[in-house]
């Protein structure tokens, strides 16, 4: 749904919507058992819920497109992931809970190893330890640039985040990563006029940094990529008229939700704490985004059994989630992460929506095969929010 239309049709109501995102939810069947992770898992609560829900499968971005975490979530929040692009730098900053502002350009940084000629010999600096990396980041904080503040934060191992803060910075700046060893890092170049000064600042930063790292054996160089400005997303609460809370363990998902204008409520304790927080703050919000990471983590590790267990763990919390008493309860995924592939994938993702206005009874279980029988069919993830709003009786009639 066009966001302007959404804004026009949204109407106030007292209904509550809970969106549970099981990261990397969908999977693929193993040849040994011909069962997917969902089919192999013992998930009686989700199965029962599916039988009483409208079910289907979401296409996160487009057919054949494997989404990153950004587009996968944006689509579920109702944003066209082709139109609203969250750059790598912003996502990296978001992932460490860095509070990006409107004057910021963020980039992902890698320490690398350079030889005497300045050619890259290891693009990851031997995966230098997080501790060493943090010390080097501290050195880089001493760098001064004309007209822009320099902020550097460690991430993990060889990775860090660079944020330039200043007026009139652009983010159309090329990567300095040559993608190969045996050649020097590339100079940053500007792709448009608005980014010309930024590219100069970036090259200035790199040359000062290389001087500061000269005494290092492993991490004596660096590369920057994914330059991205703070994205001006239309704000979720204004579009849909929903006071929205984001309940997530990992900062990246809280950060993504925050970029959309949701209020992050940190829940380091996991599902139990997330559900409990939703219960305590029930009157303060209309929309609750609950993020569950373990499914994706196990899928990325290619661990079929652990992914099935993660699904079972979520399943055990379903009664408590139902106990919240939402008018619309959704269980969805931002993308599939089949353990068989040990990676995100493009496959459509099982989906269920429970409300008092469901066409139910199509699926007996919550899995890839049964959801295919559902009344929602295979549909774009960007349609999830309009459906949620409709079932919450929060959309006016269109036209007379």
């Amino acid at each position: 749904m066009d966001l302007d239309l959404a804004k026009r049709l949204a109407q106030p109501a007292n209904t509550k919507i809970v969106l549970c995102v099981l990261d990397g939810l969908g999977g693929l069947a193993r040849q040994e058992t011909l069962r997917s992770e969902l089919e192999g898992a013992d998930i009686p609560n989700l199965d029962r819920l599916a039988a009483r829900s409208e079910v289907g499968l979401t296409v996160p971005v487009g057919p054949g497109i494997t989404p990153g975490s950004g587009p996968g979530h944006l689509a579920l929040f109702g944003y066209d992931p082709y139109r609203f692009d969250i750059g790598r730098g912003v996502l990296e900053a978001t992932g460490i809970d860095f509070d990006l502002g409107p004057d910021d350009v963020a980039a992902r940084g890698n320490f690398c190893t350079l030889d005497a000629e300045g050619n890259v010999t290891d693009r990851r600096a031997g995966r230098v330890s997080t501790e060493v990396s943090a010390g080097l980041v501290d050195r880089l904080r001493g760098i001064r640039l004309p007209g822009a503040e320099v902020l550097v934060e460690p991430v993990r191992e060889h990775r860090f985040v660079l944020v330039l803060r200043g007026k009139d910075l652009g983010d159309n700046v090329s990567s300095t990563d040559p993608q190969h060893t045996g050649v020097p890092p590339l100079p940053a170049t500007a792709g448009d006029e608005a980014s010309a000064r930024t590219a100069v600042l970036v090259n200035d930063f790199v040359s000062q940094a290389t001087a500061l790292l000269r005494d290092q054996h492993q991490a004596n160089g660096l590369m920057l990529r994914g330059f991205a400005r703070y994205p001006h997303l239309p704000q979720f609460p204004e579009i849909w008229g929903l006071r929205a809370a984001a309940l997530a363990v990992y900062p990246m998902y809280r950060g993504l939700a925050k970029l959309a204008g949701m209020q992050p409520l940190p829940c380091p304790g996991g599902l139990l704490e997330q559900i409990d927080t939703a219960r305590r703050r029930w009157q303060d919000f209309d929309f609750f985004f609950i993020h569950y990471k373990k499914t994706d983590a196990a899928g990325e590790d290619g661990d079929f059994e652990r992914k099935a267990h993660a699904l079972e763990e979520f399943d055990q919390h379903v009664p408590a989630i139902l106990g919240l008493g939402a008018d619309v309860l959704i269980v969805a995924g931002d993308h599939a992460t089949p353990a068989l592939m040990a990676a995100h994938s493009w496959h459509p993702v099982p989906f269920l929506l429970r409300s008092a206005f469901c066409r139910e009874g199509n699926a007996l279980h919550f899995n890839e095969q049964e959801c295919l029988k559902g009344s929602l069919g295979v549909f774009p993830a960007i349609d999830v929010m309009p459906l949620a709003m409709a079932h919450a009786l929060r959309l006016q009639k269109y036209g007379a």
Copy 2:
């Protein structure tokens, strides 16, 4: 299908298309029986027909969007309901068989009750009787405005239609309905330059009208909203190359069809007369739109049994409709009206298309669950006309 492409591909043929629109066709299952109106109704003819047809479910406007009658029908006629918008005033005028022209701006009027300070105390003037309302409308006909003819027609109870007829009128005029009691009606304001003079005329009308209604207790004020110009729809017969007849009991549906360029043939007697008229005029037209209202009326009243009976009544006429011998017979709905909700809804609408070129055999019955199994799946209502044309062998090959 893009209408220019439709015009390019349409080719002449001797085939006939009958489009039956069961208003508010789709529904929801009651918890007591787990059956929807269609599932509960005894509709052997529709069931048999569905088994020999291509079936699916139409999405009238978009996922989660509950359509009004205008967009619901426009989509079935092949018009993008986002692009072609029929305003409330035009629909209201159409609904009383008012013959709108290209120089007209129509608005929906409500009589209301004002207190001594001019504040609204009842936005519907106590639902004053249609007879009293008609007398007051007669008074308003005496109002004269500079450069525009004033036409006023009663509708029902407190409702009436105002039409301003004149050159260069605009319809971007704000509602005068304050939506609350305890405050005076709002002045009309123009949203663009082209509507500035129209807003002045509207305020002039309101002030003259208020003077004329001063002696009334209940209906001593009025409010105007839904200002809309006569919509210039590309004409259906020119797009599709079809001589099209509209067979409808209610003027609003004849009016909608007329705006699209179909020829309305009034059939106050209902289905029997509609089918009979189609039979008598069979040679004069290629396309017959048959509108059936009772399903929606019962749904809007929240009367599950009456809606099921309305479906059964339609079902009894199916043999006669088949007897017409159309090459393409379609049974569709403009939107769902679940008795459970007593309102239009966003749910996809059961659909069947019978021709000699069907992929049939997917559904055993004509209802929400069985149509889901069909070869057409869940698809946009705007695709109905291209499908009808194709099955009527009225579309040329695309490309070489």
